[in-house]
Symmetry: C2
Subunit: 219 residues, 2 copies
DNA sequence: ACAAATTTTTAGATTTGTCTAAATTTTTTA
DNA sequence: TAAAAAATTTAGACAAATCTAAAAATTTGT
């Protein structure tokens, strides 16, 4: 498989995991920042290789093989991200671009050994689950901070948007994975939240709250 | 730079460091396992980018920029090899192929941090020197085992041939970097050597002896 | 339901890196 | 030193991945 093919497979997987199960040519073109005609060409190629189900004008979806392939790439990506943060001291907003390159390195053994070096992590630095060696994959079953009722107490366990801009915003406001937060008040006007973050009181916009995954703590 | 361009630059550097300073199209084609016509095309491209000196029918050599580029790629290759052996437990005969992929990862910061993680190693697992961040490079000033006079005592510091076959042969005979060896006798017939390796007496063919770098110990 | 709008595909071109076969230049050698 | 041999380059083709522009299919709206 070429890098480009792997990137398409990954993109289809990510689109599919947002709910849509049949992905349109245009949606994929936008995700890949390319033209629809290029997508059509690539879908023909991936279809011939048995990685996607594709019928002209009918959209595309991953085959079993395609899904397995996608999970393997995502596993590599996320393990490398853990490595970059845990072993090399990168910050969580720096690792994505480098992992985009490292995920294409071909060596089963390399990934197994990396997994071992990192002590078999289950989540990447953004809180996203790392698929297992044999394709086991836990979806985020977490709620978004914006969905919690007032008074709830929860742990921050992941980010939905893992763009560098958002991550640096969180750093600036000392919001990190593992923080405990309590919803104090929800502003009716703009749905912003007043929360207690560890010891600190904080005002958080709806935008922010709907990009933070949390795990409710029962009291 | 593309992977392919980087591989050509590296190949030219390696050919140049065997003594030849102007490399022929055919020599490069053989090294790259490709056709001379492909080499000609690539030389035109690399020449336009200012990486090589190239005049039709006159052979090719690296520019200052080309040499700097080659050293940077070799630095990455060798640091990754150290990582694979030291941190992931690979054997020295397994690392070359994986490092061939990893050397193309683009991130200055990644390599600096890797260098630091590995505690700024000066040699790779085969005893080859690792170029410095700013292009400082020490050539092997070592002698080959085959060049030592009878009676000399030396440390094994590197391998000239780092093919997996040769490395596994060394493993099988418990010859490793750091071993102390004393030349006991040279067989006139086939130039094979009888050596004392640590405690053990060993017969070594000329082929083997001319692929082991040693550093003489003054007594 | 049928014309208009949108989406998708096809056709043809471009770039990179490769190939084969033919032409050209350089080197060898008789 | 001129013909033969070897090395190198050019020309033309191909595959991968992309693009633009045009054609075709599907969806939408009245």
């Amino acid at each position: 498989m070429t890098h480009s093919e792997e990137n398409y497979i990954k993109a289809i997987f990510h689109l599919a995991s947002t709910g849509i199960e049949v992905i349109s040519t245009n949606a994929l073109a936008e995700k890949m920042e390319t033209k629809p005609s290029s997508v059509t060409d690539m879908m023909r190629r991936l279809s011939e290789k048995g990685l996607v189900h594709y019928k002209k004008y009918q959209g595309v979806s991953l085959t079993t093989l395609g899904t397995k392939t996608a999970l393997s790439i995502i596993r590599k990506h996320r393990l490398w991200e853990v490595f970059l943060v845990e072993k090399l001291g990168f910050t969580w907003d720096e690792v994505h671009e480098i992992a985009e390159q490292l995920e294409h390195i071909k060596s089963e053994k390399l990934i197994d050994k990396l997994d071992e070096l990192l002590d078999f992590p289950k989540f990447d630095p953004h809180g996203d689950p790392i698929p297992g060696k044999n394709g086991e994959f836990m979806e985020h079953d977490n709620q978004l901070l914006s969905q919690l009722p007032i008074g709830s107490v929860a742990l921050c366990v992941g980010v939905k948007d893992s763009s560098a801009v958002f991550l640096r915003f969180l750093d600036k406001n000392s919001i990190a994975l593992g923080n405990k937060m309590k919803i104090l008040e929800k502003e009716e006007f703009d749905n912003s939240l007043r929360i207690l973050l560890d010891e600190r009181e904080l005002q958080i916009s709806q935008q922010i709250a709907s990009n933070l995954y949390v795990k409710k703590i029962e009291l």
